[in-house]
Point group: C2
Chain length 418, copies 2
C-alpha cells in the first residue's frame, strides 16, 4: 500500500471511530484511560526495550544531550504518564454538558450542548510521552486522534500505540480511536494535512519550523502558537523585591520553554535602582543581558541590543532589557514585538494594573505573577494539549474543554416559521 | 497604487483601528450604530441614486429577476437596515464580560474575559444590506471589519461605506474600523486572503463557488458553510398532522435558503398513510418529489431519485424522499449524505427523540420543529452573520458573541512557579 492510501485509510477509520466515541458513556472512557495507565506499568520493560532502540539510533546519529534526555523513557516517565492518565480520568466529562439554555417566545427550548470536535491530528517532535498525554485528553473529550510523532521516537511511539490499542479493545472501545502513524517518511505528514474530509483539527507541537510547515501545508484548521516572546513590565510603582523574584523566576526557572520571559521592560523612574541588583542576580545565574542604550549606561557590562533582539525568542539564558518612559511605551513595545502569548506587569498602582490587563492583547495577561503560569495545569485546566495564540476557537492554554465544541439542540411542539 | 498595496494599506489601517475598537466603551459603540442608522434615513435619496447606477448596469448585462430583487434598495430596505442597527445597539455588550473566574490554591485569581477577535474580513455577493448588517455586528463586538461586496453592488456599497465612515468620524471612532474595498477586480479578494498578519478571520457569505474559492485561497482562518442539505425524519410514532405542517413549512416557506428541507425521510410504518396526503399538499405548492423505489410505489407520479439526489442542495421546490426502516437507517442516511447543517426528527417517542439529538452530528438538531429555525434571530442570538458547519470556534448560527474570543487574566500577589 502507498503512504497516501495508508493515511487515507487511517483517517477514515478514525472518522468512524469518532462517531462511536461521541456517544461513549463517561464511565467507559474513564475505564479506558485507567486500562491504558495500568498497561503502561505492566509492560514497562517492553516500552523501555523499544525506547532503547530509538536511543541507540539517536546516539549513532549524534543527537544532542538535551534531545536525548527528551527522548528517554525512564521508570519515572512511565509512572508520570500513568498518573497523568488517571488524573484526566478524574476530570468531569465535558461532553453532553448544557452550556446554556433558553426558551423562545414561541415555546421552542434552545440549548447549546457540548460535543466532541471529532477527529484530531497531532503532529509533534521527540518526547514520546506526548503520545500518551494527547491520547488521554482526546479520548476524555470523546474524540478520535491520529498521532504523528518524530521519526526519532518511532519504536517508542509504536510500542505505546500497541499498548493503547490493546487497552481500548479490552474496554470495548474502537482501537481506531487512537492511531499512531507507523510511517517514518515526512510525506505521511503531507498526506495527513490533506484529509480535510475526515480530520477536523490539526495541533502541531514543537519548534517554529515544524509549526510553520504544518500551517503552510494544511487544508485542515490548525491550532498553534509560533513562539512565546513574553514580557515583564516593571512599573514605576512596582514592589521591587516582588519584581525581582518574579523576573528571576520568569527568566531562569526554565528558560527553554515558551512562557519564559524574553524581554524585560523597566520604567525609567526605577531602572537605576532596580537593574543593578537584578542584573547581579541574573549574572550569578549565567543570564546574558542585551540592553537598550540606557540600560547599557546603567549596566556597563550588558551587550548592546540590536533590533533583532526585541522580537527574539531566545529559549535560553539571554534577556533583552529596555527602559521605557511609562505604560504607553511599554504597551506599544509589547504590541510591536510581542507574540500575543504571555505578558505580565509588576505594579502597585490600581488603575495601571487595570489598564495593562485591558490593553495588552495576549492570551494570558498577568498582574504581579510570573509568566511561567501560562500553563493549563497551573491555571487550573487540569492538563493541556498546547497553547494557542490565534484567536479562533481557543486563545491561550488548551485543556480538555478546548478539544470540544457545541451544537444547538432545539425541542419544540410543532413550531413552524411564519 | 497597485491593488496589492491598497489592500495591504487597508488591512494595516484596520489592525490599528481594531486596537482602538477593542477598548471602546459600550456606549460609544452604540452611539455609532445609532448614528449610522440615522444617516441611512437622512441620505436615503443618495443611497437609492447610487443603487440605481448598479441596477442600470445589471439590467444592461441581463441579470436575472431574483438577482435584481436582491440588489435593489427600497425605502423598506433602508428602514430595515436602520432598524437592524438599532436592534444590535440594544444588545448587551459582550466585550469585557467575565465568562468564568476561579481561584487557584496558590492564591492566583484566574478569569476568562471576553475580547474582540480583532480584524474580520467579510466577502459576500449581491445583497448590499449585508454591508450594513455585517458592519453593525462587527462594531458591536469591538472588531474592525473589511468588507468586499459583489462588483454588481459596487456603487451601492461605496455609498453605504461613505455613510458609515462619516458616522464613525462624527462619533469619534476610527473610520478605518469599517472599510469597503473600492476595487472591483477579483484580485483584490486574493490579496485580502493573504493579509494574515493583519486579519484574524474571514467570513464568506454566498454560493458554494464563492466559498470554495475563499477556503482554497485563504491563509487566514475561515468560518463558513458550503451548503445545507437538511433532513426531516418522520418517525413511526410521529404526530402525522404535526409532521405535515413542519415538512410543508421546511420545504415551501422559503425554498431558496440553506435551512430549507432538501430530503424527507419517512419510517416505513407510516409512509403509506403519510406520503399520499403530504404529496398532495406539496403538489399544490408546485413541489417536485424525487423518491426512492418504495416512495415511487406509494406515489406513482414521483420522479425516481438517482444517487445524486441524496446529497443535493436544490434550493428550489424539489424534494428527495426516502422511506427508511427506522432510526438506524435514518441516522446513517443523514451521516452519509447530510451537510451537518440542520436536521429534525418528528416523533412522539421520548427515547428516540433523545437518541436523535445525541447521535445526529449537525450544528442544529431539532425535535418537532421546522428546520427553518436554524437562524440567529429565530434562535435568540439577536442577529446573525452567517452559519458555520465547521466545528472550530463556532458550529451553527453565529451572532455577536461568535465574533469574540476570550483571553486569560491572572491577578497575583507575587506568585512564582516552583
Amino acid at each position: 500500500m502507498t503512504t497516501e492510501s495508508i493515511i487515507t485509510r487511517m483517517s477514515k477509520a478514525a472518522r468512524v471511530a469518532s462517531s462511536k466515541m461521541a456517544v461513549c458513556p463517561s464511565q467507559k472512557k474513564d475505564e479506558a484511560l485507567a486500562a491504558i495507565a495500568d498497561a503502561l506499568l505492566q509492560k514497562d520493560s517492553y516500552i523501555k526495550e523499544e525506547n532503547q532502540k530509538d536511543l541507540r539510533h539517536a546516539l549513532e546519529t549524534g543527537m544532542s544531550k538535551p534531545m536525548l534526555d527528551r527522548l528517554t523513557i525512564t521508570d519515572q516517565t512511565i509512572l508520570s504518564m500513568g498518573n497523568g492518565l488517571k488524573a484526566v480520568a478524574g476530570f468531569p466529562d465535558p461532553i453532553g454538558s448544557i452550556v446554556k439554555a433558553w426558551r423562545r417566545p414561541n415555546g421552542l427550548e434552545v440549548s447549546k450542548v457540548r460535543i466532541p470536535i471529532g477527529v484530531i491530528g497531532i503532529i509533534y517532535e521527540s518526547r514520546p510521552n506526548v503520545t500518551i498525554d494527547s491520547a488521554g485528553l482526546c479520548l476524555k473529550a470523546g474524540n478520535a486522534v491520529i498521532l504523528r510523532g518524530g521519526s526519532e521516537a518511532h519504536h517508542s511511539n509504536q510500542a505505546l500505540s500497541s499498548i493503547i490499542g490493546d487497552a481500548l479493545t479490552k474496554t470495548g472501545l474502537p482501537p481506531e480511536a487512537v492511531q499512531v502513524i507507523p510511517i517514518r517518511d515526512r510525506s505521511a505528514v503531507d498526506f495527513l494535512l490533506h484529509q480535510d474530509e475526515s480530520i477536523d483539527l490539526i495541533i502541531p507541537r514543537g519548534g517554529e519550523g515544524l509549526i510553520r510547515f504544518v500551517v503552510e501545508h494544511s487544508k485542515i484548521p490548525v491550532l498553534k502558537h509560533y513562539k512565546g516572546v513574553c514580557h515583564v513590565y516593571v512599573d514605576s510603582d512596582a514592589d521591587l523585591k516582588m519584581a525581582e523574584e518574579i523576573c528571576f523566576n520568569a527568566k531562569v526557572q526554565r528558560p527553554g520553554v515558551c512562557n519564559a520571559m524574553e524581554t524585560l521592560l523597566v520604567h525609567q523612574a526605577v531602572a537605576g535602582i532596580f537593574l543593578p541588583e537584578m542584573s547581579q542576580r541574573f549574572s550569578k545565574a549565567g543570564v546574558e543581558i542585551r540592553g537598550c542604550p540606557e540600560t547599557c549606561r546603567i549596566l556597563p557590562k550588558a551587550t548592546p541590543a540590536i533590533e533583532a533582539d526585541w522580537p527574539a525568542e531566545y529559549l535560553d539564558l539571554i534577556l533583552a532589557v529596555k527602559i521605557v518612559s511609562g505604560m504607553d511605551e511599554a504597551i506599544t513595545h509589547i504590541r510591536t514585538y510581542g507574540s500575543q502569548h504571555t505578558d505580565a506587569v509588576i505594579t502597585s498602582d490600581y488603575q495601571r494594573s487595570r489598564r495593562f490587563v485591558r490593553e495588552v492583547d495576549s492570551s494570558v495577561v498577568l498582574v504581579n505573577a510570573s509568566t511561567r503560569f501560562n500553563d493549563g495545569g497551573e491555571l487550573g485546566l487540569g492538563a493541556e494539549i498546547g497553547v494557542s495564540t490565534s484567536k479562533l476557537h481557543a486563545f491561550g492554554p488548551m485543556g480538555v474543554e478546548e478539544l470540544t465544541t457545541t451544537k444547538f439542540v432545539v425541542f419544540g411542539d410543532g413550531q413552524i416559521r411564519t
